[in-house]
Amino acid sequence: MTDTTEAPPQLPVEPGDATARRQSLGPAATAAVVVIAAAVAAILAAVGGNAPLAPWGVAIVGLLLAGATGTGRLWLPASPLLRHLLLAVVAFGFLLLFSDHVSAFGNYEIAQVAYFAVAVAGLSVLMGHSGQLSLGHGALMAVGAYAVAILMGHQPHVPIVVALLFGIIVTIAVGGVLGVAAARLHGPYLAGVTLTFALAIPEIATHYRSVFGADTGKPVRTLGVPGWLSTTFPPEKWLAWVCIGGALIALVLLANVVHSGRGRRVRCVRDDEIAASLAGIEVGRAKVLAFVVSAACAGFWAGVVSPGAFALTLSLSLVTAMVLGGVGSLVGAVWGAIALVFVPKYSDSISKHFSLSVATKNNLPLAIYGAVLILAILAFPYGIQGGLRRLARRFHLTYRPLEGR
């Protein structure tokens, strides 16, 4: 991490006369987004060899692109709450239909993307809007997961929603304590503390074996399909549905926090702490608020994934996904989560194509992952989201300054 106090990270901002371009560019922008979405979906269908998926691919990629380039604002309501809710409902509908067309494993991957997207979005809001870098979010996810597992161990019949809420609350509590400690620190100093935190949490789990079950972890009850669905309903699909729904709720909440007065105050503190405090903003409170919101996101889906998989690697993967997607952007977090799930998968399948020695074969996916990471950073310095915005601005498809969305 670098000295964020001096150069706050943010996506490039373009001033412009919003209303003037609003009239002239509506239809053109819409057409362009549809064409690009169709092209992307066609490529995906051609690569995947799964033609029936193409229409749904068009819809979902189109939605993401509309959000990414800001063209969505051309026809959506001006009120942030209404706009976010509307987008979430539409996205939910499309994703439910989409989940019908993919395999059981595909549904599992959708669920993975959904819960990673929430964790990455939380981290991205923390970094992009308050300028605090945490390398310990994987450990916060672990805290939530252990809380859920322990509660389920003591109270086997507790409803799963209550267990998940409990996980979020415990994560918020731990994140709050960490956030209070973090509020005084800057840039690499905060990163160092959170990095050590990420290493210390698994150690506690190993040391107090009787409570946390050491390296083997704790057993967790899996998400059962509810009675009102037919008995043949695949559980993976139910998992995907629950994760999509929860992720969209979390993203809508986050989007509203970012657009609220509190969000603006947090950004003020990021840009200049002294000026912000002179303007009457309580600096410490704003920073801790950002940290707590972000911790809640980390704890959000922790109950669904099994504990034990939370090494330091997870924390670093989340940061990587955040930067790849575009720091500070919620749509970018979705791009990042997609990359986090699918880049290792495809690099795995690429390395299976060649006949290689065992040592090479086992390590090639990791090497490809690292190389993709390096190339992506060199090619898109502002992440996928920043690249798309730049492209949209180049072709005048966007009409507004896209300050940290």
């Binding site: 503390v193 290493l199 150690e203 002294i274």
Partner: protein
């Protein structure tokens, strides 16, 4: 008392290794404002190069200096080829880039040298000195470790403080714009800074396997990178002396926590030490106060 002495000796030995990793991180931070997460992996890579030199039955010293030279080259290449292009972008990008280098190096090493664990033979005995009838946890190799780090640090200190080149390097780290106007080739100085830092890291890489009895695996440097980073932060990322003091303090702290409480709790001990120090001094022990303009 015997246990205390042994824990102290062990702590100092691991402390100087943390200190050398911390020093490598501080040198890079001072010149380019990047925390180099690839430092551990780079040191691991150069140590594997040294192992293949030893495999050809060359002497320990040949391998030792090959590792240092390889570190010098690798540091320069990474800065010039990969870090330079992202320096103008958002500050986090360079960090992610070093994470990428870290991943690639740890994946490439088993492809080249095989996934079997290797050992790195020490040149000196690793059995502790004997005073009277009791063994102490200080072996000739540990002594060599401490002396090697001290020699390197002194050499670096002389380079930075007493030579023209050192003055140019400090100037370009302190104020790149002004230095460039005064005719300093700032780009070259940054490359040299990375190269020297990687050299310090490679020294830690060769010293770690025998003195801590770890066998050589692609990720054996990971804990040392993290503790080195903790040590650097403890001392203050801008201060080379802070890196040394932070490293030894952390080594002692971890050794006492491991000896008197439990080895499982070492990292937790590091976290407690770190938070306690940073609550009092948020920018490390040797932080200099800075003016900030509103």
């Amino acid at each position: 008392m015997h246990q205390f002495v042994n824990l102290t000796l062990g702590g100092v030995t691991s402390g100087v290794i943390f200190a050398s990793v911390a020093l490598a991180l501080v040198l890079i931070w001072r010149s380019t404002r990047v925390v180099n997460f690839a430092q551990g992996a780079m040191a691991m890579f150069t140590t594997y190069i040294a192992v293949s030199v030893i495999d050809r039955h060359w002497s320990y010293w040949a391998a030792f200096f090959v590792a240092l030279a390889a570190g010098l080259v690798l540091g320069a290449v990474v800065e010039r080829v990969l870090v330079r292009p992202v320096e103008s972008g958002p500050p986090l990008n360079a960090v992610i880039l070093t994470l990428g280098v870290f991943i690639v190096l740890e994946a490439i090493v088993p492809m080249i040298w095989g996934s079997k664990n290797r050992t790195y033979p020490p040149h000196f005995s690793i059995i502790g000195y004997k005073v009277g009838s009791t063994h102490y946890a200080l072996s000739p190799f540990d002594l060599f470790t401490i002396v090697a780090v001290i020699v390197l640090v002194t050499a670096l200190f002389l380079l930075f403080q007493k030579t023209d080149l050192g003055l140019r390097m400090r100037a370009s780290a302190f104020s790149p714009e002004v230095s460039r106007l005064l005719g300093v080739r700032v780009g070259r100085m940054l490359t040299l800074g990375w190269a020297l830092a990687a050299l310090v890291g490679s020294l830690a890489g060769v010293l770690v396997p025998p003195s801590t009895l770890t066998s050589l695996t692609p990720n054996y440097m990971d804990p040392f990178l993290i503790f080195g980073f903790t040590a650097a932060i403890l001392g203050g990322l801008d201060s080379p002396i802070g890196a040394l003091v932070g490293g030894v303090a952390l080594g002692l702290g971890l050794s006492y926590v491991g000896g008197y409480l439990s080895t499982d709790l070492e990292t937790l001990g590091a976290l407690v030490i770190l938070i306690a120090v940073l609550m009092v001094r948020p920018e490390g022990i040797f932080a200099s106060t800075r003016q900030r303009r509103v």
